[in-house]
Symmetry: C2
Subunit: 143 residues, 2 copies
DNA sequence: CGATATTTGATATACCCGATAACAATTATT
DNA sequence: AATAATTGTTATCGGGTATATCAAATATCG
């Protein structure tokens, strides 16, 4: 084994490695539904924010509009969501979850909560898990 | 603004966004030296582990050997490190920091400590920063 | 010893993400 | 009415990551 040296004290380094592990576990837990973290986040956002268009959804997720097109194509081809032409502004597409999209999202939420997040809480402890979440949110916002 | 919903409670989501922010700040702070986080980690590891070959360094950083070749080419072309044929095993390349590599690493360490990590500690508070580091390391290892 | 398997660095290649430029259609501005 | 801005889209580029394969060198084992 090698000496990590100052690397173990580098927050960015541990952050990246932890992120990879967590995403890996997410994929494992949600594998039955074939959803990536990004796809899951889109479905969640569509559910909580009906009537929004592609630009709005993409922006809040930090996805660039051009890159969001193919992502939506994939979800729409699986009948998880649909683009509807807006009557107010005929440029934009209102995004809606399909019935199937809502069903898949509901199952995904359960898998995430019962398998993925549950394991995280088990490893970290509930208090640490909450503290970690708070610090990460702080970094994501204020930093 | 949109409703994030359960997204704010998803550890992986905050983890990813925090990681992007932290790497962004790292790049800003080390910009004078033109070093990416990955390049910095390689230099650090070479310094702390002299006499190792490409496979060993790449493995500990989670970099695949094929992808490590171009990375080393870039560092070597800037005269930051060098490949030396091993006398024991003429297949492998012993990696060494050049004098210039050591000098750049020293300057990089200062920038990282005084600008990058200092800002992190300032935002989080020293105690939280340490706790965060510990939890991330735990996730990176045990998870 | 000699044949076979393994390891090391390297090349080629492919895929996924993220970023930019440009475009047609539509709407906003002036 | 003319011009500017917005929306979704396409094309394209670069970076990071993954696999298969190769020649050279070494290790293993009959």
């Amino acid at each position: 084994m090698l000496q990590l040296g100052e690397l173990s004290g580098l927050l960015g380094y541990s952050l990246k490695r932890a992120q990879l592990k967590v995403f890996e576990d997410f994929l494992r837990c949600v594998a039955p539904l074939q959803l990536t973290p990004a796809q899951f986040s889109v479905l969640l956002l569509l559910d909580k924010n009906p009537g929004r268009n592609q630009t709005e959804i993409a922006n809040t997720l930090g996805i660039l509009r051009p890159n969001f097109v193919a992502m939506l194509d994939a979800l729409e081809s699986r009948d998880l969501c649909a683009r509807m032409r807006s009557t107010n502004d005929r440029r934009s597409h209102i995004l809606v979850l399909t019935d199937r999209g809502r069903a898949v999202l509901a199952r995904a939420k359960k898998l995430v909560a019962n398998k993925h997040e549950a394991r995280l809480i088990e490893v970290l402890g509930p208090a640490n898990h909450a503290a970690l979440l708070e610090m990460l949110a702080k970094l994501a916002q204020e930093f």
